[in-house]
Amino acid sequence: MAVEAKGQPVERRFAVDLHVLGPLVALIALVVLGVSLNEQFLSAGNVTNVLARSSFIGIIAVGATFVITIGGLDLSVGSMSAFLAGITIIVLNWLTPNLGVNWGTIIVGMIVCLLLGLAAGWLNGVLITKGRIEAFIVTLGTLGIFRSLVVWLANGGALSLDFNLREVYRPVYYGGIAGVAWPIIVFALVAIAGEMVMRRTAYGRHCAAIGSNEQVARYSAIHVDRVRLATYMLQGMLVGVATIMYVPRLGSASSTTGLLWELEAIAAVIIGGTMLKGGFGRVWGTVIGVVILSLIDNILNLTDLVSPYLNGAIQGVIIILAVVLQRGRKGA
């Protein structure tokens, strides 16, 4: 404590401010950059595109915020999503002849997707809590498992949703109300709910406690394992929600579906100011992190400043800069 305390007054308040505003500042900087580079940048169309795109990673990243807050990690979300999409498509195609091309069928598919998500999360959670295996290893393992199950189900190709059913399903991604696309609405709802749960509920408090000191949590009558399991299931369910929004977009699942989403999600969470070591989580920060990430791609596409070969480098630099703006946070 003492050292933290060194010359605290000024420095601390300062640090806190930056730390709180950091992600926001970075976001604003990016927007300014975008506008200056292309007048189309703030057009309704483009804004919708960017936000709608980020919704998948976004919804997943909200879950990741909780997982990381309890001091865990879930590397499997990306391939889990591909797996869920695959199964959902198979189920839908199989239901269509029986239930016909209508919302009923789709609803059933959605429910399957959610339940499967919960199950997948449960699998991760049980292996981690009961099996006492490092989350990194468990989810690295399930990452491989889910991914190759999709490839296997699709015979190495892509699983495609029945064409007619897809026409019915499309609005879930492309439609919306009052000009706001559904994925954006859902993302917003999930984010708000997430922030509420994290800040205002006992569960959120318990997550932070576990991540910050598991022993203290145990001695404070918190069911550490139960909370942990619940968190991984929450993550799984949110992957399900994201997948429900994803399937209608291209109506297919393949080996490339959800590739590296896990990395993007974790990055978003940390850019948002949550600590990788656990003990402190901030959902709204994550949301900003997600938007920052998809803005980077968008800006790179809207401009031809650099050879596309260097896109990766620019991304890297911006990610680091975005976090430099919230200095003072302990690096590890």
Partner: protein
């Protein structure tokens, strides 16, 4: 004709990381299954690799533990595989190289070549024909690899001198989602686009969705590539957005495996170079390029 000659044939291909390689995987397994039935004494070893290093390891393992008599390989990349494949050939194994050639001539006994240059050239010429008095187009290229370079360079060369100008060119990673997002951004960036060279059917699907979303189907058409059955079907049905396609048939791996098998079961000399040409698929010839049972 000695159809009960014993032999073990190793097959090393990239793992199914996108549509086309998925097709490769499918056709390789198909060919192997049917050949196994046909020639019980032929034994096959199939290995898939996610990167050149792994592919080299696979070859090493085949040599060390599966004592193969022949190797059919679709090199992930030419340069890294040249040395290792050469060692297989030097060990007196029968070597068949598929699709992309090795960096040194004369290593393989049999070369079933896909022609990436032709792939780009055919596409380019189609653009020239379709846009006689020029136009604005955008290009989605695959992953940064030699193949991709060959295709794009050939394409550029082909449209050279025409009044077609490439407004934007970005990597779509041979990935539908990525292509969808890139195209979305192209659409908000360029008010006028006459055509899109998606350079791959997977990406083409993403691109088409983006165009639909923007409601600009009437404005532009899309040329993919590789002959995915969905796309061939659209061509056959005369879809205005998908007027044509350029083949780059993953079935070439099956051809290679068959020919290699023949080397052991027939006495016909199986050496030399078979070029699987990239042909333009239009409404007229779409039928003969449609394989309903392929997943690709």
């Amino acid at each position: 004709q000695d159809s009960n000659a014993k032999a073990t044939i190793g097959v090393s291909i990239p793992s199914a990381t996108h549509g086309w390689t998925g097709g490769i995987n499918f056709h390789a397994q198909q060919a192997i299954d049917s050949l196994k039935k046909q020639y019980p004494n032929l034994n096959f070893v199939l290995a898939t690799a996610g990167d050149p290093g792994k592919q080299v390891s696979d070859i090493e393992d085949m040599m060390a533990t599966r004592n193969i008599d022949a190797l059919v390989i679709l090199p992930f990349e030419s340069d890294p595989l040249t040395g290792p494949v050469k060692r297989v050939a030097d060990a007196g194994k029968f070597v068949t190289v598929v699709d992309r050639g090795l960096s040194q001539p004369g290593i393989q006994d049999l070369y079933v070549a896909g022609d990436n240059t032709a792939f780009g050239k055919v596409a380019g010429e189609y653009f020239k024909k379709k846009l006689p008095d020029g136009g604005k187009i955008v290009v989605l290229r695959g992953l940064p690899t030699t193949i991709d370079n060959e295709r794009v360079d050939a394409f550029k060369k082909a449209i050279d001198g025409s009044k077609i100008d490439i407004e934007g060119i970005e990597f779509g990673n041979w990935n539908r989602d990525k292509a969808f997002e890139v195209m979305q951004d192209f659409l908000s960036k360029y008010p006028k686009i006459d055509a899109v060279w998606a350079s791959d059917d997977d990406m083409a699907l993403g691109v088409i969705e983006a165009i639909k979303q923007a409601g600009r189907e009437k404005e532009m058409w899309v040329l993919g590539g590789a002959g995915m059955k969905q796309m061939i079907k659209r061509v056959e049905n005369g879809d205005t957005m998908v007027p044509a396609d350029v083949t780059y048939p993953p079935s070439m791996i099956a051809t290679a495996i068959r020919l290699t098998a023949d080397h052991f079961v027939t006495d016909a000399p199986m050496v030399g170079r078979f070029i699987i040409d990239s042909v333009l698929v239009t409404k007229d010839n779409a039928k003969e390029h449609y394989y309903p049972d392929s997943p690709f």
